[in-house]
């Protein structure tokens, strides 16, 4: 039984995330955790930008926030966002991973550990390999792995790295990602 959708992206991924969130219903059945590479000292603006089109509420969670459906949790700037056993958000100020804080690997790895096969990991456009190792963890624990079609990406380095690192169940256009998620929303 699916529990969570987890999305990562970097350069070129904002439009993709916006597209996805604008096509999901307000009462989408699963929490969505999102880590986007972002400017370190810019604490405002990204949530607001996503909220212009997203039907689902987007927040940058405080540490120890409970993870619930009908919510998008966006990793705040200058923190790693992790999932904690007990289904809460855990933030960290540890060193950058793959030059990034927040790091996609950190979100994906901890999500895989907590949700095991009950999750979907989606990796979008980006210019480095952050997220590839995380996808490997997701796959090894039985979760579904999806990358944005490199042909569609502004920068395909990120999905390419994941494709090299592990088995990816689906290479999807943004449109196909949306259809996949809508179907899961209907059947659970």
């Amino acid at each position: 039984m699916l529990k969570t959708i987890v999305i990562g992206g970097s350069a070129g991924s904002f439009d993709g995330v916006l597209e996805i969130l604008s096509h999901l219903p307000k009462d989408f059945n699963f929490p969505i955790l999102v880590t986007l590479h972002r400017l370190k000292n810019v604490r405002e603006g990204l949530v607001e930008a996503l909220m212009t089109k997203s039907n689902i509420q987007v927040i940058e969670p405080l540490d120890k926030t409970s993870i619930k459906k009908n919510m998008v949790y966006l990793a705040p700037s200058n923190y790693h966002m992790m999932v904690e056993l007990g289904n809460t958000i855990a933030l960290s100020t540890e060193d950058i991973v793959k030059f990034s804080r927040p790091s996609i690997d950190v979100l994906f790895e901890t999500s895989a550990h907590v949700y095991q096969d009950k999750m979907v990991g989606i990796l979008l456009s980006g210019a480095n390999s952050d997220g590839a190792n995380g996808m490997k963890h997701i796959h090894e624990r039985g979760g579904v792995t999806i990358v944005q079609d490199p042909k569609e990406c502004q920068i395909s380095t990120m999905p390419d790295a994941a494709l090299k690192a592990t088995e990816i169940n689906h290479v999807f256009s943004t449109k196909q990602i949306i259809n996949f998620l809508l179907k899961r929303h209907q059947v659970g």
Partner: protein
Amino acid sequence: MLESIELIDLQRALKNVQDKYKYDFSDYALSSLQRRIIRFMNIHSIVDVDILISRLMADAPFVNQFVEELTVNTTEMFRDPTLWLSIKEKIIPKIKDLETINIWHSGCSSGEEVYSMAILLKAEGLLDKAKIYATDLNEHVIAKAKRGNYSSRNMKLNVENYQKTTISGSLEDYYTTSGDVVQMNEELLRSVSFQKFDLATNHEPFMKFNIIFCRNVMIYFNSFLQDKVVNLYKNSLLDNGYLILGAQETISMSNVADDFTVFDAKEKIFALK
């Protein structure tokens, strides 16, 4: 390369450390603790928790490194510049006429926050009135903070942060550079007393403060321990004293939340009623 360890093995390792060295990690938040132990094991090419345990039991300096890896976060000076702007504009006016200003940096780690506040106080002409306590759980870490050496490379970010705080002068006034290393001016520490204090095991108030800093420390504790620590802070603040947390932290879920007002919601500054 080690990628994961069993919870039961992790707990076994920590129990051994607690029994012998009195460090209690049992109420630390699990996700980050696990990641850090794995990272430590990989750095030292240890593939087996039993080998980790035997090395920890045999080698006290190795334990220092272990504790450092689990608890120290290299951070920035004036992290979240808007917080420091808020301290300058909203808190300084309220405390500048006090005879003494008591400040506690709990979990001072590598010391950047201590130097940041000392610099702000110096710029405001208040450093001599301040009595500052900087504590952490490990003496080795405290010694590092006391030394005040940081890499020149990191100072670039610190200077950028400083400029955004609008504090007068420039950050370069407060340190000297020798090649790759900067040395913070010693006079910044003249009002600072460094002490060992373990927030995981010690919840006895030792003094009352006008300001307590606890930024991005409690994110590494579970809710149970966090509650104990917030209670300690409640009992360690003077009336209208300020508790300053990290940018994405709160005390609103604690059982003593009602004893505080929100002084600055955006910058996570709380005031004791």
